[in-house]
């Protein structure tokens, strides 16, 4: 990926959406030497051998950035490998991923960080950053060697998907990370209220009688996390909230000036708990799919900037694990391939979210949370660029997705919008035939 590409690209006639520059208009974009060289270059500035791409009717945007992607390696190769995961990422428009630390063994040593980086370099698809564990063995008891992890290249710390349930540890971690200026990612949940749970507690759950996961289990942990952050300062990112209560707590906390950032998973925006009436284990996720009222609050939170990031929440799970009773099936949904199309279908087309805000939440904001140079088409930045056909209609066939696991509940569903081309550092890494 370090090779400087010798091909120059001119993407013409597309609608360029780059929230970092408040840009949303038709224009042309020049990619040269691996960088975004210019927007709307004059004809005189064009090299005479450049490849032209006609993007008429298409959208040109910075490559998407996913915060906390499960890539399977090491230890869960039956679910995903770095090679398949990064290929799914490209097909979904992601040019940078932050790899989750819930591997086996977990990423709690410098060597483990190095392993993922080398595997990703060998796969040579999208950029892969590494998240290290907050605690040793991801066990929530003692701090991991955070300094060494950061030294080895970890860009954030997280025990996710396990919540940081040990309040004393979380406080110590927030303080310790002040030295490194790296964010801690937590998925707020009080486990004693959700033990054995399968789905959101509410009216649907009352009928289908699956074990409940009440919303207050998240609200209480969100409240605690925010309160701690107000004391310690530092950087805390709530990686996936799902309730109206959490959204309101964050809104109030941000109004008081707390430096918290917040993400929401695409699945929690698209699907409500009614989906579990099908008893399809692909809808078993944590945080669970909530009722429509919670979803409305999350979408409002995206629009009023309470919520900063939309994550794919990619949790690939091998078929044999999902083909079980709902109690036994693991949480998780495979989403990298479909996330952008889901945003377009469920949020942009019904006018619940603008293109500009969507790209901001999928690209610029996650890059900012991670502190990585990505998420914009500002001239001089790395040419991580995607082209989207916003009007393409396609039917999801899980076996045709690139992720190694096919635990997508979208089988047979028609989605709108699809990624057509992807450049990473000026190399065209993906194009749809």
């Amino acid at each position: 990926m370090n090779r400087v590409p010798d091909t120059t690209w001119l993407i013409e006639n597309g609608r360029i959406v780059d929230p970092a520059q408040s840009l949303d208009r038709k224009g042309r974009l020049l990619i040269r030497d691996g960088l975004v060289a210019a927007i709307d270059p004059s004809d005189g500035d064009l090299p005479n051998n450049c490849h032209r791409v006609d993007a008429d009717g298409w959208i040109v945007a910075p490559g998407l950035v996913d915060l906390a992607t499960e890539l399977g390696e090491p230890g869960h190769e039956e679910d995903e490998t770095i090679e398949t995961g990064t290929q799914a990422a490209l097909a979904g428009g992601y040019t940078s991923l932050a790899c989750s630390a819930n591997t086996d063994p977990p990423i709690d040593t410098a060597a483990a960080v190095e392993f993922v980086r080398q595997k990703a370099a060998r796969a040579d698809r999208c950029r892969v950053y590494v998240i290290g564990c907050v605690s040793k063995g991801r066990e929530g008891e003692e701090l991991a060697e955070i300094g060494s992890l950061v030294e080895a290249g970890a860009i954030a710390l997280s025990d996710s998907p396990r919540p940081l349930n040990n309040t004393a540890l979380l406080r110590r971690a927030l303080e310790y990370c002040l030295m490194f200026d790296k964010p801690i990612l937590d998925r707020p949940e009080v486990p004693s209220l959700t033990r054995g749970g399968v789905m959101h507690e509410g009216l649907t759950q009352l009928s289908v009688a699956l074990a409940p996961m009440p919303a207050e289990a998240e609200d209480l942990a969100t409240s605690r996390d925010l309160r701690l952050l107000e004391t310690t300062g530092g950087r805390l990112h709530l990686s996936c909230i799902s309730t109206r209560g959490s959204t309101e707590l964050v809104h109030r906390s941000k109004n008081r000036g707390t430096q918290v950032t917040v993400g929401v998973r695409i699945g929690n925006l698209c699907f409500d708990d009614e989906r579990l009436r099908s008893f399809d284990s692909n809808y078993k996720v944590n945080p669970p799919l909530r009722s429509q009222d919670h979803i409305d609050a999350l979408i409002e939170g995206l629009n009023d900037q309470t919520i900063d990031v939309i994550t794919a929440g990619h949790q690939p799970r091998a078929l044999e694990k999902k083909m079980q009773e709902l109690d036994a099936a693991p949480f998780g949904m495979s989403t990298l391939d479909t996330a952008l199309s889901q945003v377009i279908t469920y949020l942009i087309e019904p006018n619940k979210l603008s293109w500009s805000r969507a790209i901001e939440c999928l690209s610029y904001m996650p890059a900012k949370v991670l502190g990585i140079p990505a998420g914009t088409l500002t001239p001089g930045s790395a040419a991580d660029v995607i082209i989207i056909d916003p009007r393409a209609k396609w039917t999801v066939e899980p076996s045709e997705l690139h992720s190694c696991s096919h635990n997508s509940p979208l089988k047979g569903e028609v989605l709108s919008g699809r990624v057509q081309m992807v450049w990473v550092g000026g190399h065209r890494k993906f194009w749809r035939q």
């Binding site: 509410g202 009352l206 009928s207 699956l210 079980q324 009773e325």
Partner: protein, 327 residues
């Protein structure tokens, strides 16, 4: 002694579309009535001393029980045998994966032995639906965790109907561990559709106010509702499904909810006392009440066979050409 030749089978209802019986939530009032009418016919025939009916000769019914059960399993077996079907029995307490085999693979294996219908009981909600998706044969839900137990709901309703003629306008109270009860859910769907007023009554930790959204009345005190009830269905406390203990002691539960002689005296004179069983004497019901004149608990058990025969015949009978045969 009745013989098969005395039995006039109702015409196979052309409107019956279901291949599976997964729950009562998705059946219409008409479909439930069809099931009850056919069950009533079987019930009368056997009460008159009838012998086996060869309606499902050549069919195989598999009992797939992943949770302990004696009455439901035997009831389904007997129902299948009375229709002339062969049966396969598979039971495994806990999980099927003791040898590493998944639940679905076990079911597929049994299906490959030639089962035309699989009767499944499992501790997890949705398992019957899961099998219906993965198997080609008919699936009957014999209880999926706390979710549904459609034949139990039907046999309870049939028992009430035999005593009262109709469900319309009756007040039926389900008492006890509502939260963990598949019997409660199946009863609610069925009773509501046939026009009964349903009260769910139990400790607040086992009966949340949210149940009102299903169109039922929620009550915490049995003594308050007792004088209004035409039927009491006393549910067992499902200790095995409770994560944390929902009330302080069995003694306190019995004090507040056990149906005993004193409470009988304050009930309607024609009240029906029902229990899906197994009953815990001294917990939800005292022996005088369980064995008393208002108790129809054993009638429920015999109706269970008739209801399961009706269900098996409706699901499998469309494959036979005996649809209007007289024997």
């Amino acid at each position: 002694m009745s013989h098969a030749s005395d039995f006039v089978l109702p015409k196979y209802p052309a409107s019956w579309q279901h291949r599976h019986l997964l729950g009562l939530e998705n059946l219409s009032a008409g479909e439930i009535t069809t099931l009850l009418d056919i069950a009533e016919g079987f019930s009368n025939y056997f009460r008159g001393g009838g012998s086996k009916l060869p309606l499902l000769t050549g069919f195989t019914v598999a009992n797939l029980f992943f949770e302990n059960s004696t009455r439901t399993r035997n009831s389904f077996s007997l129902a299948a045998k009375r229709l002339g079907a062969d049966t396969i029995e598979f039971s495994s307490s806990g999980s099927s994966v003791a040898k590493g085999e998944t639940f679905i693979d076990t079911a597929k294996t049994i299906e490959s032995m030639g089962a035309d219908a699989v009767v499944v009981r499992h501790a997890t909600p949705g398992t019957a639906q899961l099998l219906a998706r993965h198997l080609d044969c008919s699936v009957l839900n014999a209880g999926d965790g706390p979710h549904e137990h459609p034949t139990q709901g039907l046999l309870d309703i049939l028992t009430i109907r035999q005593h009262r003629g109709s469900l319309k306008g009756l007040t039926v109270a389900l008492v006890g561990d509502i939260a963990h009860s598949r019997t409660a859910r199946s009863n609610i769907w069925g009773l509501k559709k046939l026009g009964a007023h349903v009260i769910v009554c139990g400790p607040a930790t086992l009966v949340s106010k949210q149940w009102e959204s299903l169109g039922v009345e929620v009550a915490y005190h049995l003594d308050d509702i007792l004088p209004r009830c035409d039927v009491l269905n006393l549910l067992r406390i499902q200790f095995e499904r409770q994560a944390t203990r929902p009330f302080p002691s069995v003694r306190e539960y019995a004090l507040l909810y056990a149906m005993n002689s004193q409470r009988m005296r304050r009930s309607k004179p024609d009240i029906l006392i029902m229990a899906p069983g197994p009953i815990n004497r001294g917990v939800e019901i005292t022996p005088e009440v369980a064995d008393g004149p208002h108790s129809v608990i054993l009638q429920q058990v015999s109706n269970g066979i008739a209801v399961r025969m009706a269900a098996l015949w409706l699901l499998l009978g469309q494959c036979t050409d005996s649809a209007s045969t007289q024997f």
